[in-house]
Symmetry: C2
Subunit: 246 residues, 2 copies
């Protein structure tokens, strides 16, 4: 009898082993096939020794999910890797969609992870202690006008705002427009934390404000956290009070 | 010479050991004093054997942080425990605030964890694949009018919305008002996932919609996730497509 295949959609967190969950490590250990974007696979290279590893380039998400399903249907235990949380802009959704499209009954377990906003937040101090939004500035799959509307709503609601994919080589104006939208509703002194490689090797932290944020390097490995009207910076930490009386 | 004290603000994730990070387990192991709300300490009781454990009731956050600082200043390694992510409505902010208030130079490490929205999302399938907001319905520390405004902004922006602290024994109307606000901007068929004890013992999942969500049990152990205009339910899973062509 053929073994029953299974798919683990694994969020490995920010990248360092210490911020992976026990279940994520276990899922990778159980799997005999590991599939993912090469940059993420490299972060767990030591865990995948002796396994069949299929790494691919960016923008191959659907192909990767089809391959994962093929392998699971052959009876393999397959781990498909996301950075951060597999359920936040990760591979969980597209993997389930591909499964339904192909009318498969393969079991899929989504293994959650620490998302980039949480990792960046811990690096900065405690900026996300109150209601927040997470918005991706990538308009590859989303209409830019909808993203603009969300930026506006997030600013009007005085949310703390975590920006994912703030900027890439070919995409530079979005972060500029986002800042302009924020400045319509938020003070120019609103604290901004820019974290590159949050909670992994080569972590870099910049504390600035809405007025000056564009004077710093921002790229695809960066998460930008914009405070609410109560957020402040003290002794190198960014803090949003929740309202306790001390 | 006295040992130098240190404070770890530890997010233990949803509760089950398997969703704790390696660093969270390590921090608790390194600490000789463990401080936290009793319900959370109970989730890690086996990890704290042989240590000084100080558990306290709810609403004692400031007291708990002062005690944590006292112990660290005596030279102890102290872990103060949050559920989920210590940086999302957790103990990270108030701990830093108490430190600054008392002008201490004790080192504080914030150890991030998997927040309740990620745990609930993994249990439901993949509802949080796009821009989302996290809003707490608790008005103990936040003006209800501000929360109402944020609910409105989140609905207008067509965000996926995760509601924390949706309802308690003495607080029942907030979730009803939240639903009314959502219905002004979202279809009554918008999928809603209600998850109790996400990714821990006794997990319960309900899939419903905005029209019918109040016919189900919602309490303080529950996270409610409301979809965006593209979210759908299929084969018992709640999915928000990100926009890939399959």
């Amino acid at each position: 009898m053929k073994t029953k295949g299974k798919i683990y959609v694994v969020g490995i967190g920010p990248g360092n082993r210490e911020h992976m969950s026990v279940r994520a490590i276990e899922a990778i250990q159980k799997a005999d096939v590991i599939i993912g974007y090469k940059t993420y696979i490299d972060l767990i290279r030591d865990l995948v020794a002796g396994k069949e590893v299929i790494d691919s380039g960016m923008k191959k998400e659907v192909e990767r999910c089809n391959l994962t399903l093929d392998k699971a249907m052959e009876g393999h235990q397959v781990a498909i890797i996301s950075s951060g949380d597999a359920g936040v802009y990760g591979m969980a959704g597209i993997m389930l969609e591909v499964k339904y499209e192909r009318m498969s009954d393969i079991e899929i377990e989504v293994v959650p992870g620490i998302t980039a906003a949480s990792a960046a937040s811990a690096a900065l101090g405690a900026p996300m202690m109150h209601d927040f939004t997470v918005i991706s500035l990538s308009d590859l799959l989303t209409d830019w006008e909808l993203i603009r509307k969300r930026l506006e709503c997030a600013a009007v609601g005085d949310f703390i705002i975590a920006l994912y994919n703030p900027k890439s080589m070919g995409r530079v104006h979005q972060i500029e427009e986002a800042r302009e939208i924020f400045l319509k509703h938020k003070a120019k002194t609103t604290p901004v934390g820019i974290v590159k490689n949050a909670k992994r090797k080569d972590e870099e932290i910049i504390l600035t404000d809405l007025e000056n944020m564009l004077n710093h390097e921002i790229d695809m490995l960066t998460v930008v956290i914009v405070g609410n009207s109560n957020t402040y910076i003290k002794d190198g930490k960014m803090i949003t009070p929740r309202g306790y009386r001390i």
